[in-house]
Symmetry: C2
Subunit: 561 residues, 2 copies
């Protein structure tokens, strides 16, 4: 039985058996990447049944090109066999395995009791990221599922004593191999730490544990008229979102994770717990440890609590789409809109291939042309005022008239379709894998960078789509490739490399929102220079002298201090 | 002749003799804290005449309660005598003097030529901050005025070789003693590095040297329809603004320095130059060295170049004022406005004492009651829509009707008066000094924190004013005290301490935008905990093992790693 690759992603959301039963009907509605966080009420994911179990049911049965799903249960042992047969590694991350002494195993058992496992199923699952083409030669030697910050602290202190590597594990939606365990060691799965500790409506902030997902969080906040404005992949958790400095479609208005965290708590390599700041909205009191931890990808500490800035749900929004004959026109409109001073809340660009994928996967009939999706917010009058300004800009760049998306449900559906664009791609090539990459350039270079990259993608023979958070200068490519075809893999890697180099040559960054992990390390010297990398490594060495915190990630191995 | 304390501040703006002559007429118009940056065209401050000179003219002659000024020139030697007689030190920062070897002097002379001085006048001037009540036992042993990043790098590397302290010096407007030289050493005055290196209109960013002032910068940007949204004290420079993580009245909408720097370059303690990021608006590529440098107060590196995010000048604004019987009502309105979802661009709160000071200093006749000043921006229709919503909130909290400030000149004058509120205070007590402090609390605690602090201030017998960037939960007190009166000094210190402790007890910060310097170090343990302070010190030690970068600032001396 050959399962397509998206199935493992579904499984990622369904790893706790009991939840499959609970969530089945809702999962059916929630789309191909249906997450438990879509369906489980907050906190309900704390298992009622003991787990991990050696038999972990997982989801399946899917018919590409439709929105119908069936849910059945399979023995997870199947999973191993199938993955075992694959050789889909564009980059297999090497790493010498560090021994985990028996004493440490006993200590971790004493700390976490039955929330520690040596079970091969669980270890294998945690060692293979579900959303990434990156693989590693090793998997973690054991998994712990701490309940509390105190437990995390004890676990880390114990690992530090024995100099055993630690890999923190959140929603596992990261792209660049952040959760790989190239050196084996201890994987700390934070999924049980997902309570909302306190909501301060008047301060418009909320204190959460790192395992809370942003989708869950926004469900919780809706009755209060508040929301959290970051929207990465639906399974992403707040801890992981901090760790990778993520953003999403709303970043053009509300900023990235960097801008929306008031403070956080983290366990450092020596087991000490730090709190990075007070709950004040701004402060000039000392080094910005909050921002240092955000984007550090688990290499400096394990995030155990986060205080997030919230926003009022806008009273009114207008959603409008338009299309263009060329992707350059579309990108130019996004740029001109930003320069007009109009504060859009979203300006998303999708190329004609991506639109085609969406049509297939969602049964839509959108014009298969480069398309912009806008969202304007404010009062009713103001939203429409903005729309008129931008419609004029669109007209000046040979764009179509706006098609407005009317009611709330239709808007919600549109953003959901946009959010699930990646999964739609698999409707075009169900048995392929996806090499997903993102770069970000200064706004004035966006049209050129996309055009150059697009030209290269088009000549490749592979199916490639482009999606941009165009107001930020940030764009993604999804390159579909046959994992069993060497030429495909090499071509996908070449295209990825081409796009990153193009962005770097334009004063851009090798990743706007996905992070470095193992995949983008090789570009950091070109982007930052060796002096900056040495500075990063000095900080890493000062805080983690035994190099136990997510080793082999973010800082390239050739950096010497 | 007894000069009031504000005079030294004027002098701070007029330290270059030739500029006094050039700027005299404009200075007369620019108000009591008239800055060279108000009057000098960009780049013109690069001295035509050789300096430093042993005789530095400085400004004087002022009549409290009017807006008329005369400008005359005095020999700066007077200055020393007068300051020498004062014993105005609330905190005299102690420090063992580290020897500056003759070899280093020669090396610095070789690097900077005649832009290095051992002149006592200049050293004395740089050793006594002009905007702060903090003093130090030592002054710098020599001053260098580098022209370029390369020179800064060479200077720092030389100092590192001899383990001699370095104090970077910008606009010298900082409050908490950041530019003191408690250990002597080398003061690096960045005022000659003030070119605008490149403006990217389409990317809405600008690359500047650190000595550029924000007032100058905005003059330069105006013809392009762009502005930089940070507005601290008028003499502040971009480098210092980064170093102290400053903000101002517009931070409620645009964020602080943390949010508005795209990247920066800095010279580290070993003389290496790092660039912290690309020019992309967002990035997930590596540790956030940009934010690590912002707020590090010269203790990690010397900022030599900054790329700033710019904004379009709003097409329309409405400025409105209203007043209240109690300061709690005013604060409550600010809170309710933020919770309404209205995105004000300013919401400034001034207490009745501050309004009185403004009336005296500016010949105004504002109602001497707690007052809110609002700015709403957007299109004309939207600005007015917002005004109506907030007017309703004001009515619900017993506020007066809005008084609208009509034309552009009147708006400009109002924000100028607000910006110069500190100087207006001296109109009430011309011979006193000011203890200025700021804290920031979660928004829901603002009304209570201000009310409690205000009650304490009122019973003190000293003249104290309250000014708040109320939308951020950030407020300032200005406590006027007779520097020759011990009781006054102690009472001022007690009030400062009381306010900070109140804020800390409310999950707030000891400083929202002024920074730590020497003045707020003692509160950092209470705010952050020893674990976080140790983390900061480890980073400091890793990047500056000889502790030459602005030693004695930010990290409390009792922190051990």
């Amino acid at each position: 039985m050959a399962f397509p690759s998206w199935m493992y992603r579904i499984r990622s959301s369904l790893k706790h058996g009991y939840s499959v039963f609970r969530s089945a009907p809702a999962f059916r509605q929630s789309g191909r990447n249906g997450c438990l966080s879509d369906v489980d009420k907050l906190g309900a994911r704390r298992p009622l049944h003991r787990w991990p179990s050696s038999v972990i049911p997982f989801a399946v049965a899917f018919s590409a090109g439709t929105v119908a799903y069936n849910l059945s249960l399979c023995d997870s042992s199947l999973d191993h066999r199938i993955i075992g047969e694959k050789t889909t590694t564009e980059v297999v991350v090497k790493g010498s395995h560090r021994e985990v002494p028996e004493e440490l195993v006993n200590e971790l058992k004493a700390i976490c009791n039955d929330r520690m496992t040596l079970d091969y199923d669980e270890r294998y699952f945690h060692g293979k990221p579900q959303n990434s083409f990156h693989k590693a030669v090793n998997i973690p030697d054991l998994i712990v599922y701490p309940w509390s910050e105190g437990e995390v602290s004890q676990v880390v202190a114990a690992c530090n004593k024995y100099k055993v590597p630690i890999v923190p594990y959140g929603g596992a939606t990261s792209i660049e191999g952040h959760t790989l365990s190239p050196h084996g060691g201890v994987c700390i799965d934070m999924s049980l730490m997902k309570s909302i500790k306190s909501l301060h409506v008047e301060d418009m902030d909320v204190v959460v544990e790192p395992g809370v997902g942003w989708v869950e969080l926004n469900e919780y906040l809706r009755p209060y008229g508040l929301f959290f404005p970051l929207d990465p992949g639906p399974g992403a958790t707040i801890g992981g979102m901090c760790a990778t400095r993520c953003s999403g479609s709303l970043a053009v208005r509300y900023g990235t994770m960097r801008d929306n965290v008031i403070n956080l708590k983290a366990v450092l390599a020596n087991g000490e717990v730090i709190k990075t700041a007070s709950r004040a909205r701004k402060s000039a009191a000392g080094y910005d440890l909050t921002r240092l931890m955000i984007g550090s990808e688990g290499t400096l500490g394990i995030i155990t609590e986060v205080t997030l800035r919230l926003l009022k749900i806008p009273q009114y929004s207008v959603v409008a789409m338009c299309n263009f004959n060329t992707i350059k026109d579309a990108a130019d409109v996004a740029i001109a809109t930003m320069l007009s001073g109009i504060q859009v809340s979203r300006v998303e660009l999708l190329d004609e291939v991506q639109i085609k994928a969406i049509n297939i996967a969602n049964g839509k009939n959108l014009p298969e042309l480069p398309t912009l999706m806008f969202e304007f917010i404010g009062t009713e009058a103001y939203s429409h005022e903005q729309t008129l300004v931008v419609q004029k800009i669109v007209g000046e760049h040979n764009g179509s008239d706006f098609v407005f998306v009317g009611d709330a449900e239709a808007k919600k559906e549109l953003w959901k379709i946009r959010k699930e664009a990646l999964w739609a791609c698999f409707a075009m090539e169900p048995n392929f894998e996806a090499m997903i990459s993102d770069v970000c350039v200064p706004l004035s270079r966006l049209a050129e960078c996309i055009s150059v990259s697009k030209k290269e993608l088009e000549t490749s023979g592979l199916v490639c789509t482009v999606i941009a958070h165009a107001g930020d200068g940030n764009f993604h490519t999804i390159i579909l490739f046959d994992p069993n075809n060497d030429e495909h893999r090499h071509e996908a890697a070449r295209l990825n490399h081409f796009m990153v180099n193009t962005a770097l040559s334009m004063e851009g960054t090798c990743t706007g929102e996905h992070g470095v992990g193992t995949g983008k390390m090789k570009y950091l010297e070109q982007e930052h220079g060796m002096e900056a990398l040495r500075t990063m490594k000095k900080i890493k060495a000062a805080l983690d002298p035994n190099n136990i915190m997510n080793p082999g990630k973010l800082i390239p191995p050739h950096v010497c201090i």
